[in-house]
Amino acid sequence: MRILKYKTDLSENDVTPKEIFMKRREFMVGSIALGASLKALSVDSPKIEGTPKWMQDKILSSKGMTNKSDDKLTPLHDVTSHNNFYEFGTHKAAPKLKSGGFKAFPWEVKVSGECAVTGTFDLEDLIKEMMIEERIYRLRCVEGWSMVIPWMGFSLASLIKKLQPTSNAKYIQFVTSDDKEQFPAIGSRFSTIDWPYREGLRMDEAMHDLSFMAIGLYGDALPAQNGAPLRLVVPWKYGFKSIKSIVEIRFVEEQPYTTWNAISDKEYGFYANVNPQVDHPRWSQATEKRLPSGLFSSNRIETKMFNGYPQVAGLYKGMDLKKYF
């Protein structure tokens, strides 16, 4: 039975309140401005074990928050213990519990297809020039729950510009690592997923200012269960589009293979835009539970079109979003 597997080591009381978290950021930025050494900042430097210095420096180089959000942040504990990352297991708690042996560094990313810059790059080289910023995004899972997460990273457009796609590049595909040594559930014979996990975007979606590549959250490097060391964040689409632990980026002409769409195209479209008017066959998408959810106060709120990011509507002008869901 599943009931014995779930183990938490943090309580609600351990969650950093937003105000203190924000103050901490001010403190960090202030300290850097004063030229304080990294050692002096050790309390606030990335706590994720095994994070190399270059990544710590990269995260500390953040120019700070670049978007505004009125949403209440989901506590770090929930962000890191309620995850869908089937390479680690199917239960929500599995990614945290089964990712102890995961090593995010060193990490290589292969770039291929319709672009000028191809080859296999060390992550450090790939993101060297990227300007790190912090963005608060809502994350809406297709299962009907949502979170608000402060990500650290850079715009996907800035990475695409560096890779110089050709005019033939109509789509971009991302591939997650399928290293069995790293991901214990990949060997499962009962999975419906044809590994590696793959996702994709249309080129104009990928170039939209909201599309983001994350290398951290809550001021630290990404924990394994959240897609270390590099993941996509597309806030107006269901969470499964925001592929984790990316090892390959391909620029392609045709609409690429995407994992959930291939498992069941009646349940999961290629676009997967958050849309309260198009239900999943087994549940309504009109509302969502904003986590953490209580037992008698489920914190259910109305789901907004494009997850409340109307600025992307122009990408889908003239398209029937009930057909292309």
């Binding site: 039975m1 009931i3 309620h82 929500k92 729950w145 037992l295 489920s298």
Partner: protein, 209 residues
């Protein structure tokens, strides 16, 4: 004589309490949740409880259906005394499953419940299975057995259909892994097949005698 009766009584109560452990465990977790302590219900405790009770229902269903084959294979005929208790626990945990679904997930929003039943076949199948269990529960007292006679046997054969519906209900929710639905489909198949083979043996023996 009195001593063995006392022993049976004790065993009955011991088993009764053991079967309550899954409920007590979840009540304890709910207490921890409200006390703000470490708990094992995660960030969506309502969903977790619905899933737990559903899974526990399945296991009680398998215990109940396993008693006849165990009796035949191992000769533990005393187990038959507890079969009704197991069966009633199937209904008990299935009811908790539905009750927590209505309370924690739907918050008793009737129009969503209606929508779920009408539009979502897996919910409909689950509801039909629960209504079946309700009928078996209502007809379970000893005086009902006496009153219904042969009809009782026929009515209670419906447990096989209910078990199939329950596995279908789980199978329809398949997403990333076949593991759980396949496991339960295999258990159900084994339990159903065991009955077919006994039936044949029984007929053979009847012919010989």
């Amino acid at each position: 004589m009195a001593k063995s009766k006392l022993k049976l009584r004790f065993l009955w109560w011991a088993l009764f309490l053991v079967c309550l452990i899954p409920l007590l465990y979840n009540v304890w977790q709910i207490y921890l949740l409200f006390a703000g302590a470490d708990h094992k219900l995660g960030s969506e405790p309502g969903k977790e409880l619905v899933d737990h009770f559903g899974e526990i229902t399945l296991y009680f269903l398998w215990f109940t259906l396993a008693i006849t084959p165990i009796k035949k294979w191992l000769g533990w005929s005393k187990l038959m005394k507890y079969r009704r208790m197991f069966g009633l626990y199937v209904f008990f945990y299935a009811s908790l499953h539905i009750l927590s679904y209505c309370t924690f997930l739907l918050e008793w929003t009737w129009f969503i419940l209606k929508e779920d039943i009408v539009q979502r076949p897996y919910i409909f199948v689950g509801l039909v299975a629960w209504i079946g269990l309700l009928v078996l529960t209502v007809t379970s007292p000893k005086w009902m057995v006496k009153k219904l006679k042969k009809k009782w046997v026929i009515i209670h054969k419906f447990i096989y259909l209910i078990a199939i519906l329950v596995v279908v209900h789980e199978w329809m929710q398949l997403r990333a892994s076949f593991y759980d639905p396949l496991l339960h489909a295999v258990i159900l198949t084994v339990l159903l097949c065991s009955r077919f083979s006994f039936l044949k043996k029984f007929k053979k023996q009847a012919r010989i005698s």
